[in-house]
């Protein structure tokens, strides 16, 4: 899609919050454009543990945040039921948790409106036998598990239905500020290098941990303190409900079952640069030893990989004048109206959490709408999002059950772990084409299961190559952004191959990064075996040098 010339509002950042801002603007009649430097949901949104908060984690320290969580929890269950697995959640008092916190927990929940029932420990242990048998008390809360990528897709689909647009791989590289207003924003297409300009009446930065970098383009200071949160993916669900420690939130005190795996979170470490951080073994050890207080066998369970996200934490300057809305919103997120700093049409939304993304968007758009003279009320909590009609998240067998219901036939599994058939992948491609290997991964969960893509990513690359094949391009099929060729028609097979190379080697490297801090036992074994296959039998290393985009004429001729 081409970059539009003029928009009412430009939204920067394609996480859940940015997408929700776009949707809210669109529904209030503001024709808007969202841009992200990468794919949607690749920042903090796609790199967290997947918890749909009940609010229970905040009842002791921040009742407003807790109240917002439970309210939005109910809204999301209504508008995005297919993105949520209603796992339920428990706060358990282990022998390590302080009595006073445990005693006050139920009352604190009550005071914040968070539904909370104490359950018999014996009953919970019967349901979740991997839990610490020394658990003293347990409280049930409406926690859940939420799938961020499908959610973002739905939100953006709704925004598009209401006349707005969203672009991936478009990075903001400049802003023109005249007479206290941003008039023009310069974008670079990260796949083709094409630079374009958008004239806009208003700019909303939903860039999260990167908000400081965006604000700097308008010479505005936003002091973010990105907090790295490290999480561990376990190869099975040792629990079918979210489990929290009943204490003041800390490291390694939450386990979230997500589809076929379970995710232990988190650490919280300040990092100077939201793009430059790695997971250390010390963090992994800390998470496992803390997590073992909930699940005593945790040190013997298999970790698939470690990963980290950056929390978009915002520390208001000590001498700051409270900004718009600061009285009415919790400290969990903040809307910064940069009129205070001399730019009248620029707002940043910072802080917050995925569970409250819709509310954050509503409050942000309230500010924007008021400044733009728009009085249409927010409707984002009212209607179910597109593609959420199924009303429930899938369980592993759904896909095959659906397949059989549709008459069966070719059930070639491209991804054995997540039971993704070729037919389902083809259907995804038909709907979302043109798209990348990573889009397929997030959209279909190919490669997200226990083998972490070792046996399926090259299959997806193969399937994409078939679609990209010169024959299909010649037949008038669209090609993904960046593959339009060099002005001489369709992209060459060599360019297709370079894309696949980058996807495969990039995937291999990314997967390794997540395995390195947890490389021990079976997981180190699997890493060495995967290396043996990819380097020994498949010659992956020969493809790294080949993925350079510049190719000789001879090679291109040979490829034709």
């Amino acid at each position: 899609m081409a970059v539009p010339h003029t928009v009412d509002v430009l939204v920067i950042g394609g996480g859940a919050t940015g997408a929700a801002v776009l949707r809210d603007l669109a529904r209030r009649g503001l024709k808007s454009l969202l841009v992200d430097r990468s794919d949607f949901g690749t920042g903090t949104t796609g790199r967290y543990h997947g918890l749909l908060h009940s609010g229970g984690r905040y009842v002791a320290k921040d009742q407003l945040a807790a109240r917002e969580c439970i309210e939005e929890n109910r809204v999301l269950r209504r508008i995005a039921p297919a993105s949520i697995e209603d796992t339920g959640g428990y706060f358990i008092a282990t022998p390590d948790d302080p009595d006073d916190y445990v005693e006050a927990f139920a009352n604190n929940c009550n005071a914040s409106g968070v539904d909370c029932d104490e359950v018999k420990v014996a009953d919970l242990l019967a349901r979740e036998p991997a839990l610490n048998p020394k658990t003293r008390r347990a409280f049930r809360v409406p926690d859940g598990s939420i799938e961020p990528w499908m959610l973002i897709d739905s939100i953006i689909a709704d925004a598009r239905r209401h006349g707005s647009e969203a672009l991936t791989y478009h990075r903001v590289i400049g802003m023109e500020v005249q007479a206290n207003r941003i008039t023009e924003v310069t974008l670079r297409d990260e796949q083709t290098g094409t630079v374009s300009r958008v004239w806009t009446k208003f700019v909303v930065s939903a860039a999260g941990a990167w908000a400081g970098q965006i604000a700097a383009f308008a010479n505005v200071g936003v002091e973010m303190t990105p907090g790295k949160g490290t999480m561990l993916i376990y190869n099975h669900r040792m629990t079918d409900a979210v489990i929290n420690r009943c204490h003041r939130s800390s490291d390694g005190d939450i386990m979230v079952p997500v589809h076929t795996v379970a995710i232990l979170g988190t650490t919280d470490i300040k990092v100077p640069d939201p793009d430059d951080f790695e997971v250390t073994r010390a963090e992994v050890e800390r998470l496992v030893s803390e997590g073992a207080k909930m699940f005593p066998d945790l040190p013997r369970m298999r970790i698939l990989r470690a990963y980290a996200g950056v929390r978009p934490l915002y520390q208001p300057p000590a001498d700051a004048v409270p900004g718009v809305g600061n009285r009415s919103i919790s400290r969990a997120h903040a809307i910064l109206d940069h009129a205070d700093q001399g730019v009248d049409n620029f707002v940043s939304i910072v802080g917050g959490k995925l569970t409250t993304h819709r509310l954050m968007a509503e409050q942000t758009v309230d500010v924007v709408a008021a400044k733009m003279g728009v009085t249409t009320p927010c409707t984002t909590a009212d209607e179910m999002l597109p593609d959420q009609e199924a009303g429930h998240t899938y369980w592993l067998g759904h896909r095959l059950a659906d397949h059989e219901e549709e008459g069966g036939g070719d059930a070639t599994l491209l991804c054995e772990c997540e039971l993704v058939t070729r037919k389902a992948t083809d259907a995804y491609l038909d709907k979302h084409w043109p798209c990348s290997i990573d889009d397929v991964r997030r959209g279909s969960r190919v490669g997200m299961g226990p083998c972490q893509g070792a046996f399926c990513m090259f299959r997806v690359a193969g399937l994409l190559a078939e679609r990209l094949d010169a024959r299909s391009t010649a037949a008038g099929q669209p090609v993904p952004a960046g593959l339009e060729g060099d002005g001489h028609g369709a992209a060459s097979p060599a360019q297709h191959a370079a894309i696949a190379d980058r996807a495969l080697t990039g995937f291999f490297r990314e997967r390794f990064k997540g395995t390195r801090p947890i490389a021990e036992g079976r997981q180190l074994q699997e890493l060495m075996m995967t290396n043996g296959i990819y380097l020994g039998v498949l010659g992956l290393e020969s493809m790294t040098s080949a993925s350079a985009p510049k190719l000789s004429e001879e090679a291109l001729d040979a490829a034709r």
């Binding site: 010659g539 992956l540 490829a559």
Partner: protein, 445 residues
Amino acid sequence: MPHADVVVIGAGLAGLVAAARIAEAGATVTLVAKGHASTHWGSGGLDVAGPAGVATPAEGVAHLATLDHPYSFLAPDVAPSIAWLLERLEANGLPYAGTLDTPLRRVPTAIGGTRRVAIVPAAQAAALRPWEPDEILVIASPAGFKDFWPAAIADSLGREAVWMGAGHPGRVTGITVELDGVADRHNLNALHLARRFDDPAQRAADIARFAAAVRKAAGGRPGRVGVPAVVGLSQHAEAWAELKARLPLEPFEIPLVPPSIPGIRLWHVLREIIRAAGGRVQIGESVARIHVEDGRVTAVEMEAAARTQLIRTEALVLATGGIAGGGLVATHDGRIVEPLLGLHVDAPEHEEWLVADALDPAGHPIEAAGIPTDGGLRPLAQDGRPAPLANVRVAGALLAGQRSIRERCGDGIAVASGWRAANELATDATRTPIEREPIAVRTDQ
């Protein structure tokens, strides 16, 4: 109670060669393993030595022998052991091409990359011959097969850079061939296809389809055709001969992700050689405990489905594999241990196991972890002196100092060390020198 002169633990190439050689020597041998091993996930070829910068496996062995590497003491056994193995494979209907002096050449892989090889099954050999500029390479696969994607492979192989400076075909094209009944087949894999080629009637029909499609794609140009390595399992020789005779271009097999059909063929032949010489092969039985008395292994205890089995023995070959094979295990506190006998392991410090880039050409220091031995493959203790286990020999990927992925030396070490371990122990057990007559057996899997 069962007894064997020698028990071999591990069913990879090292264990199979050791057991075959011991059995041929006239000693009784039982090979036990918890499951299939390197044969089933390798290429079926024999990577003897291919570190960067050498022209032949022989040069590679000579180079690695100058390093702190198993070849520093195994080098003299490489040529006779590889010759012995190739002779046995040929005699049993699974001929290989290439020798230690064959130039290492780049051949296509199943994701459209290349790798350097010299000794390969005969069915892979046509890929070794240097390419002429007017040649076309047709990549052909049954439609609907998920582990081999001709369009992607051809797109990639069409790029000069993938060949890393080696000669390459002037043109590469990918085609899929519709075979009857394949499109409806649920979850078709390499084994299904290989068994299809074992059936003479089915094979004739399929090969006719391939021939027509390849003829059309080649358009009269000279060249070769790369097919997934699925051309027959038990009837591979017949299937291959028929494919070769009927295709308009010379075919070669390209090995796939596991399960490796060329590797399974190799495994079947080696198992039959062991059995024909009187040895036993027991797969699916994890070794639970090794009994040691007075510095000697006396028995091996296995866990089967509902019982434990004890085999008394005079000697043990430990060929349980490296980290990938499970012969070495990384503990939570950053040690690498050998779990069966608790042998001393040479390994880098925990912090240095893995370098930052997955594709670093130098590889990862952890790859060199293993059991240090003397030249007779006796394990060494931490102080460098022989461990007090007089009748144990260590073979294969367990040996310290190899970085087999980058040095491409894993199969050569397996064969040479399996051979040497067998020679040492069989001579002890039988007091007779080893014979070298080939024993022909049938592979009727």
